[in-house]
């Protein structure tokens, strides 16, 4: 939080400019030389469909100069599986509660498995409504929902963009090799989405 | 020259005046259509009369065209209910007149007219008018004041002037362009490129201004300078800077007591 101590007032709004500054022209020449030099430096543009930004999985992720790094990107959601290939979500509604855009809709039901009480009978995320803030990810007590690095999220219809449980699990199956953002685990709930996790076979009847 | 010609011209002026009077915006039933017809008829007949009696000359067609444009435009300047359109018609008049001047070989005057009137004065008018509202709903805009007297005075003055120039031949002097072209294609058989034989009237005008009329010019300049100084004296009224009584609340923040964060 910003306290009063952090505020520095530069008490010099009407500082007298030097003669060259007031004469503008040397300053303008300086500016023009900057832009001219820029014209001959290397481009940073990524030619998107041919080139893609990929997450940087090793090294210092906080390095601000890693320009082609997608590691801090929050893209499409995935619904993790536990080691048995079942959906890891326990339908606690924490993500739905935390979601500021109200884009998550869960129908809870009694789970068919003896070691769990609740599971999501339905789990829909409206990706068009989502603001990709990552609050669901933070709220999840079992690290079941995560935002992947996938950023090219497109669809032809609105319905297509409402991701149901099956689709979200598919996203996990495709991206399960990567653990996004390496958040500190809150619960120590082992088994989902770890980098050494083997891709679980999708077990259709267990969705 | 027909002796009755001036009277015919006066009569045409009267018809035109009646047309303008009718076409002037007024409250109540609009008489713009008969007015316009009357005005156009007057202009048409005038052109016909002039065409009959004037000497044939090169560019006469343009001359008639621009004259008609100037006349109709001038009519619209006073009859159009929207002020911005009036300004635009005024611009049209200026351009037409300067075209007439070009046809007369007075290029400098033509361009000066455009630069000074169309480029500066009327832009200022437009600038002011833009600040007024768009639709012509203000009664002052849609109703003309003392239309009859105004038309009478205007056309009486015009008739007086026309009476003075009525006997002058309406032929144009050859323009400098024509002179050059004549020099190029006429009997001139120089092997080198054409000399700029004619200085054009710009140089002549400059010479006249700087010799014959130099006192007038300088007087005008001094007058303008005085006007400029006077305008500055009027405009530069110093607004006293208020000092805030409370040093904690400087004047720039009166009414904004909220902390910045």
């Amino acid at each position: 939080m910003i306290t009063e101590d952090d505020i520095i007032i530069v008490d010099d709004m009407r500082r007298d400019m030097s003669l060259t500054e007031r004469f503008y022209l040397p300053q303008i020449a300086q500016g023009l030389s900057v832009t001219l030099r820029r014209m001959f430096t290397k481009r940073v543009t990524l030619q998107y469909p041919e080139m893609r930004r990929e997450p940087k999985l090793e090294g210092d992720l906080t390095d601000p100069h890693s320009q082609l790094n997608a590691s801090r990107y929050r893209g499409v959601h995935r619904l993790n599986r536990d080691p048995d290939g079942r959906v890891a979500c326990v339908a606690c509604f924490m993500c739905e509660t935390a979601c500021p855009a109200h884009c998550i809709h869960i129908d809870a039901a009694e789970s068919p498995w003896p070691d769990r009480e609740k599971y999501p009978a339905k789990f829909d995320i409206d990706e068009l409504r989502c603001i990709y803030c990552g609050m669901c990810e933070e709220a999840c007590p079992v690290d079941a929902i995560e935002l992947t690095y996938e950023y090219d999220l497109v669809g032809n219809t609105r319905n297509e963009m409402i991701f149901d449980k099956g689709k979200l699990l598919e996203v996990f199956d495709e991206t399960c090799q990567i653990k996004p953002r390496r958040n500190p685990r809150i619960t120590g709930y082992a088994g989902t989405g770890s980098p050494d996790h083997q891709p679980a076979r999708p077990t259709g009847e267990q969705h | 020259m027909n002796a009755s010609l001036p009277y015919l011209i006066y009569a045409l002026f009267a018809v035109g005046g009646a047309g303008i009077y009718l076409a002037l915006p007024r409250s109540g039933r609009s008489t713009a259509v008969p007015g316009s017809i009357l005005g156009l008829a007057a202009v048409g007949m005038f052109v016909a009369v002039v065409a009959k009696y004037a000497l044939p000359s090169e560019g006469a067609g343009f001359s008639y065209l621009f004259s008609a444009m100037a006349l109709i435009g001038a009519g619209r300047v006073v009859t159009h209910p929207k002020a911005v359109y009036c300004v635009l018609y005024f611009v049209l008049v200026i351009i037409s007149v300067s075209m007439l001047l070009v046809l007369q070989g007075a290029e400098f005057l033509a361009i000066a007219l455009i630069v000074v009137y169309a480029g500066a004065i009327l832009v200022t008018y437009a600038f002011v008018l833009m600040l007024s509202q768009q639709s012509a709903s203000v009664p002052g805009d849609v109703r003309s004041r003392e239309p009859f007297l105004a038309v009478l005075a205007g056309f009486f003055t015009m008739a007086c002037i026309a009476g003075q120039v009525g006997d002058l031949p309406l032929a144009a002097a050859p323009s400098s362009e024509q002179v050059i072209r004549l020099a190029q294609h006429g009997e001139a058989d120089q092997a080198v490129m054409p000399e700029m034989m004619v200085d054009g009237n710009t140089a002549a005008m400059g010479a006249a201004l700087m010799t014959k009329y130099v006192v007038t010019l300088e007087t005008t300049g001094v007058l303008l300078l005085v006007a400029l100084v006077g305008a500055m004296a009027v405009a530069k009224k110093r607004v006293p800077i208020e000092e805030s009584p409370d040093p904690e609340k400087p004047l720039g923040q009166v009414g904004r007591e909220a902390a910045p964060f």
């Binding site: 009063e4 505020i7 520095i8 007032i9 530069v10 008490d11 010099d12 009407r14 400019m17 003669l19 007031r22 004469f23 303008i28 500016g31 023009l32 900057v34 001219l36 820029r38 014209m39 430096t41 481009r43 543009t45 030619q47 | 929207k82 911005v84 611009v91 290029e107 400098f108 361009i111 000066a112 630069v115 480029g119 500066a120 832009v123 200022t124 437009a126 600038f127 008018l129 833009m130 768009q134 400098s176 362009e177 050059i180 072209r181 190029q184 092997a191 080198v192 490129m193 054409p194 700029m196 009237n201 710009t202 607004v239 208020e242 904690e248 400087p250 004047l251 720039g252 923040q253 910045p260």
Partner: protein
């Protein structure tokens, strides 16, 4: 066939057709290069996807098809007129703007005289028209340029547009004065108002490019032309950040395209004038054999190419400046015109008058011109710097009333010198 071309009127017609085509194409590619240059300055690539009909197996030609695509898009977009707009003026304004910016082409001397059938007799001037008031014509046309903007702004019935229009009017009125003064300097030092003759005066015996004699006037003209074309940093009439799009906020499709075209045409024409007045027009510097006497078609073409190159350079500087400098605040803009440019211009005119009085322009040698011109310019510059240095700091009345803002305790304020370490 060739005899027909010897008629100046027909030749002018042909020239008009060619120039209109060339300038419109140039304008299209100006928009393309505007985007490219902005991209390069910002370390980007710029438009690089549109090629020509997938020619050569989808090779993109570095995006050279982009202007065509843009033009096509403008053509195909829906024409809309706002409900409360003043319809005749709304439709007329872009046309006025475009016409006024285009008719300036008429007096530019593109390449001297042309001897079509190589018989040693000069046939036609490579210029649409050469009136003896060429320079004044430029001024007159330029002064009308504001109408398109102002009328479009007013007719849109939009507050942002109106603001843009008002700003444009005030700005163009103010900048016409230094523009005139700068041109006056050229007129005085060349003793001519015909553009062709001005070019000649810069080439013929003892003449040199006016920019070497009057660099300050060149600068003055360039700055005022920036303002007249509404280009950054003088694009107050558009100012996207404050006024959405300024005078063209309500315009779309082809009408917007016309405004756009007129801005770039204006830019090209203005550059052409700048080159003619100060950069020797079509003159090849220090290359013998392409002077006034060379009237063969290839020489004329080379001259036209030279002028084109110079124009392209000027246009590049226009763009370069746009992507470098931030926009002026309106009071700064006015202060620059009335307190900076006009006094400088007056000083330069005085200098030119003095030079004319001593007969410098007519001298057969380059040196007196250069010495007088550069010395005088330096003196004027010195005076201006002196005046600027002595004048109080530039603040508006509102700013003068504003003390440094701080609601916190005065002890928190730090002098500027400490700012670096404090941060």
């Amino acid at each position: 066939m060739l005899d027909l071309l010897k008629n100046q009127l027909l030749f002018s017609g042909l020239l008009i057709a060619v120039l209109m085509g060339a300038i419109n194409l140039g304008v299209a590619y100006c928009t393309f290069y505007e985007r490219k240059i902005s991209a390069w300055i910002q370390n980007r690539e710029g438009p690089n996807r549109v090629g020509f009909f997938g020619l050569f197996w989808g090779f993109h030609f570095w995006g050279y098809g982009q202007p065509m695509a843009d033009g096509l898009k403008f053509l195909l977009k829906e024409e809309m007129i706002p409900d409360k707009a003043d319809k005749p003026l709304y439709v007329m304004a872009p046309a006025i703007s475009f016409i006024v910016s285009t008719i300036g082409i008429a007096v530019i001397p593109w390449g001297g005289y042309l001897d079509i059938d190589a018989d040693g007799i000069v046939d036609v001037a490579c210029q649409v028209a050469n009136p003896d008031i060429g320079l004044l014509y430029v001024l007159g046309v330029g002064s009308l340029g504001v109408y398109g903007v102002v009328l479009g702004a007013w007719a849109s019935n939009n507050k942002y547009s109106l603001f843009g229009g008002i700003r444009a009017a005030a700005q163009m009125l103010s900048y016409e004065i230094p523009l005139g003064l700068a041109i006056l300097v050229v007129v005085l030092s060349c003793g001519e108002v015909r553009l062709e003759n001005i070019v000649r005066a810069q080439i013929e015996g003892g003449g040199t490019w006016n920019v070497f004699v009057h660099p300050l006037a060149f600068f003055l003209l360039f700055v005022t032309q920036l303002a007249e074309t509404n280009r950054a940093p003088f694009d107050m009439a558009e100012s996207e950040q404050e006024l959405v799009g300024g005078f063209h906020t309500e315009y779309g499709a082809l009408k917007f395209a016309l405004f756009f075209l007129s801005e770039y045409t204006h830019m090209i024409i203005n550059s052409a004038f700048l080159c003619v007045l100060f950069l020797g027009g079509w003159h090849f510097p220090w290359i013998p054999g392409l002077g006034l006497e060379d009237t063969a078609w290839w020489a004329v073409l080379a001259k036209m190419a030279m002028l084109g190159t110079k124009i392209a350079g000027c246009v590049f500087v226009y763009m370069w400046i746009r992507w470098t400098l931030p926009r002026f605040r309106f009071d700064q803009l006015m202060r620059l015109a009335w307190k900076g440019l006009i006094p400088t211009g007056l000083g330069l005119v005085a200098l030119a008058v003095v030079m004319t009085y001593f007969g410098i322009p007519g001298s057969e040698s380059v040196w007196p011109k250069l010495i007088w011109g550069l010395g005088g310019n330096a003196a004027v510059l010195f005076m201006v710097v002196l005046v600027v240095g002595m004048s109080p700091a530039g603040v508006t009345g509102r700013q003068a009333n504003m003390p440094p803002i701080s609601l916190l305790s005065p002890a928190k304020r730090v002098p500027r010198a400490d700012q670096g370490t404090a941060n």
